[in-house]
Amino acid sequence: MMTLIKKLLSFLLKLVLIAVAGTALLFVVYFFNLDMKLTAAMEPLLTWFYDNKVKRDQHL
């Protein structure tokens, strides 16, 4: 019984540690605006794609 409780506690501790580490990591992304810096880097690639790879029936 004690072993089971210990295993459960150990599992919960790991879960809490993973949640705390995940939140800390996300907070770093949030605070240093890393999400927007990444999407800003994606913009020229998308623009190149729209200019060169998408066929359009452009007319009035």
Partner: protein, 523 residues
């Protein structure tokens, strides 16, 4: 009035870079930063849950040029929450996060029905396309019909997100010979259609004659493609412009009856009075809340103002029109937050120096200008022209008399669509009522947007100046070109205020770091 205890609201300009995005997000103290972080996370989860998790939406991302602007959603929220703390921050998130979810659902539905992407024909057969300036009150009695605006998704929202989002489409329209001196908003919408960059779906479409020559031109280009190439019939809802005149109301009501009959014919659905009156109750509740916010803004401690008032009113009043209960819930929460903040005498910035009414059609590529006015110069934007819409309660009980009245109410709401209720309708609604609001709100300043391509307002320039002089009100003209920052940049917009405040008012900025910003390349 000053509040020196706010955390981290000095030197907001230091967060700007010369590139697309800011160097980092604001530190707002532990509680407010944690709250803002939680909302940031919530919005990313919403975008993944509604849009990014579905392969068809990713396919759309690689098909439509305007979709690239949606990369900037979190930054748009950061721009509008700049400097906000406590209840004001929560009010802003209550609104913006709901708008993010609503727009995410709009995109998802557009691509679900789009013949090029999802091609769900059954769904598409219940979709009615409505143009960007269409009051959706005409859809209040159709619970099973899906009204979707392609223009909101492809031009209106992208320019809020990215100041240069419409430039490609403006250029395309002009390359095909459309005039360069019309409003760049309908011009960009026409450009999207010409560029073959609009989703194709729906069983029919309704366009409204709002609000100018450019709008009519844009609609004609779009409807030609819809009707002649895509096989989607279009109804032209020709709403009277002299909307304060009694003798136009019968005609306006008949137009609504015709529009309803058109939608019934093409969707196979019948107008549902029970649903209509449920929506009407929510429209009235939204009006009641807005009036309460405006009442608070007449005091020394305004609470729902600036961007918090403008952007939300546009969405809730025009695009929602009582159709969604979540907006009623948001109205309730915002009102509770505003009352709480008012009791605590909360301020939304370090210092309030001037009380201003914002008039005219605002710069769309610089929608967060109102936040800048507050943080840089302590000018409180109490209300704006586009938020001063209908204040009349509409019939909300289902009786035979009210069913007849309801048609007139829908017509009234459509005539009083945002912008057209002031830019059309005569001298009184544009000019006289401004000075009434100045007195009611105890304002000492009017910031008058001069949208260079808006002929509806340009003709009254001299009359505004004459009256401001007579009343001793500071009138500051701010020129812009709505969707096109190449004509007047964001700094060009700011410089007009900076010059007035330094030379006429002889004042120094509250936050000097915001006076000159290099944000030409910014989203």
């Amino acid at each position: 009035m000053k509040d020196e205890n706010r955390i981290g609201t000095q030197n907001l300009g230091s967060l700007y870079t010369n590139g697309r995005v800011r160097s980092r997000r604001e530190w707002r103290g532990i509680v407010d930063t944690a709250y803002d972080f939680s909302r940031w996370l919530h919005n990313w989860i919403t975008m993944f849950r509604v849009v990014l998790v579905k392969p068809r939406n990713i396919k759309a991302m690689f098909r439509y040029r305007w979709m690239a602007s949606y990369l900037a959603v979190p930054m748009m929220i950061d721009r509008h929450t700049q400097g906000l703390r406590n209840e004001h921050l929560r009010i802003c998130h209550e609104e913006q996060d709901l708008i993010v979810e609503d727009v995410a659902k709009l995109l998802d539905k557009l691509f679900r029905g789009d013949r090029r992407i999802g091609n769900d024909r059954e769904f598409s057969s219940k979709v009615v396309l409505v143009d960007e300036n269409e009051m959706q009150s005409v859809m209040m009695g159709f619970p099973t019909v899906v009204p979707l605006s392609r223009e909101i998704a492809s031009t209106y929202i992208p320019v809020l997100l990215n100041q240069r989002a419409a430039l490609h489409y403006i250029d395309v329209a002009q390359e095909y010979g459309l005039a360069g001196d019309v409003c760049p908003m309908p011009e960009a919408e026409a450009g999207v259609s010409i560029d073959d960059d609009a989703p194709v779906l729906g069983c029919c479409a309704v366009q409204c004659n709002t609000t100018c020559d450019g709008s009519l031109m844009g609609n004609s280009v779009i409807s030609k493609r819809l009707e002649l190439e895509d096989g989607i019939p279009v109804f032209q809802l020709a709403t009277p412009l002299r909307h304060r005149e009694d003798d136009v109301q019968e005609y306006a009501a008949q137009e609504i009856r015709n529009a309803i009959a058109f939608i019934e014919e093409h969707t196979g659905e019948k107008w549902d009075w029970t649903h209509y009156f449920e929506c009407a109750k929510r429209v009235n509740y939204a009006t009641k809340c807005r009036l309460e916010w405006l009442e608070i803004n007449r005091t020394d401690y305004p609470q729902v103002f600036g961007s918090n008032l403008a952007l939300y009113t546009e969405t809730n009043y025009m695009a929602i029109s009582g159709r969604l209960k979540v907006f009623e819930d948001a109205d309730r929460k915002i009102t509770a937050l505003a009352e709480k903040a008012f009791k605590k005498k909360r301020m939304a910035a370090n210092e309030y120096r001037h009380r201003a009414i914002i008039w005219g059609v605002q710069s769309h590529y610089y929608m967060d200008f109102l936040v800048w006015l507050l943080n840089c110069w302590g000018i409180v934007p109490l209300t704006d022209m586009l938020s001063m819409v209908n204040t009349r309660m509409i019939a909300e009980t289902d009786t035979p008399e009210n069913r007849e009245q309801a048609i007139y109410d829908i017509a009234w709401l459509t005539e009083n669509m945002i912008m057209r209720n002031r830019t059309h309708g005569g001298y009184k609604v544009l000019l006289d009522e401004l000075w009434e609001f100045v007195e009611e709100f105890n304002a000492d300043m009017v910031i008058l947007w001069e949208h260079m391509s808006c002929k509806a307002l340009d003709g009254m320039h001299g009359m505004f100046e004459e009256k401001a002089r007579e009343k001793g009100i500071h009138l500051v003209w701010v020129s812009h070109d709505l969707f096109d920052p190449r004509v007047i940049s964001r700094q060009g917009v700011r410089d007009q205020i900076n010059s007035y405040m330094r030379t006429v008012m002889n004042e120094e900025p509250v936050d000097p770091s915001l006076e000159i910003l290099n944000d030409v390349e910014s989203w």
